[in-house]
Symmetry: C2
Subunit: 217 residues, 2 copies
């Protein structure tokens, strides 16, 4: 089972491609192969040839669909990012009801998305250092989370629930860095790392202390 697709998919009639495989099929096969292989080894140890073979095409044909293997990862990661965005909910809008539960509900879907696509997210985190395109997408995603957390902190301070302190943007940034790095450590089995089942509670605890806890009085 080297090929991700076997011969006869129903000759669906969309468009004008009743070829053996349509271009879309091939593109999906490449993406599926990449996701499978990323579960086994990092992108740096996966060659374009292996992606092509896995999708049942030759190496030059791969370049008909993607300009590099990094672009494949980018496409996969893009889908994960979309999923994360649609899952994120409005927990941060309901902090006034129950602060701790609100933060937990805000962080949780982030963890869940990372967890269920750990091969892709881990690869994306690692490939930041190699590919500018991946780095840009990653930092755009992080920027969005930082802004959301920052606004939530400011809102909590305005309503008097959280004390003033260091700039909300700075606080949101380091907390976000903590979540990012901790998720990566835990889900890629590094040492030291927090056990998966305690990670969410640990992160929520630091958020609570950092945002609401008044340092030594």
């Amino acid at each position: 089972m080297d090929s991700a697709l076997e011969p006869p998919p129903a000759p669906s009639t969309r468009g004008r491609r009743a070829r053996v495989f349509s271009g879309d099929d091939r593109e999906r096969a490449i993406l599926a192969t990449a996701e499978r292989l990323l579960g086994e080894r990092p992108l740096s140890e996966i060659s374009v040839d292996q992606l092509a073979k896995g999708a049942g095409i030759s190496r030059p044909t791969f370049y008909f669909y993607f300009t590099s293997k990094e672009q494949v990862l980018l496409a996969l990661f893009d889908r994960v990012v979309e999923e994360a965005r649609s899952n994120r909910g409005d927990a941060l809008q309901r902090l006034a009801e129950d602060e701790e539960q609100g933060w937990r509900d805000a962080i949780s879907p982030f963890c869940a998305t990372f967890s269920s696509h750990r091969a892709i997210t881990s690869a994306a985190a690692a490939t930041q250092y190699t590919s500018a395109a991946v780095r840009d997408l990653w930092s755009q995603v992080m920027e969005q989370f930082v802004v959301e957390v920052m606004e939530a902190i400011e809102s909590e301070r305005r309503r008097g629930a959280a004390p003033d302190g260091i700039p909300a943007r700075d606080l949101a940034t380091v907390l976000n860095s903590m979540v990012e790095r901790s998720l990566f450590s835990t889900f890629s089995g590094q040492t030291p790392a927090v056990a998966e089942e305690r990670l969410l509670e640990t992160l929520v605890s630091v958020f609570m202390g950092a945002i609401y806890g008044r340092a030594q009085e």
Copy 2:
């Protein structure tokens, strides 16, 4: 200015070069070249040939000194780690006098070391994903810091200065992840990142809140 060391006597271009440098000189020249080039671009964009040329030797000769370019980074990083260890001081032993100042003094040398060797530490952080040897050394270093922070937290809890809560080891781990990732973001100029001059205060503030701050009572 390609060669890190110029041969004092001008030997004939052709044929074997006269032995003007000892092996130690050459090894140092390779390390110096690597450090210089890492200031300009990541390790993945530096070839063995460029390291060799920079040290005034041919590519095969490079392999007489190091088995790969990752080993060069490992040697550089090892020296930084030693420096960090010798600079770390005993601030965590003096938390009882002034908690906030104690944590600041404990985190500060860590920041300083990272800062003054940012090319090497950034490269080491990035190369974790490529090289198992670098990853092992890095996680060994992180493990040491986590243990020190964990013991300090436990000590603060014992003396009643900090409330009990989540396991000290877990707390120490995520705080360490935060420091690591924040330093990396800031010193490699990523977005989002905290400005260098506010980073230490921001980190200390989160430490104080997470360790001493009682979440909502």
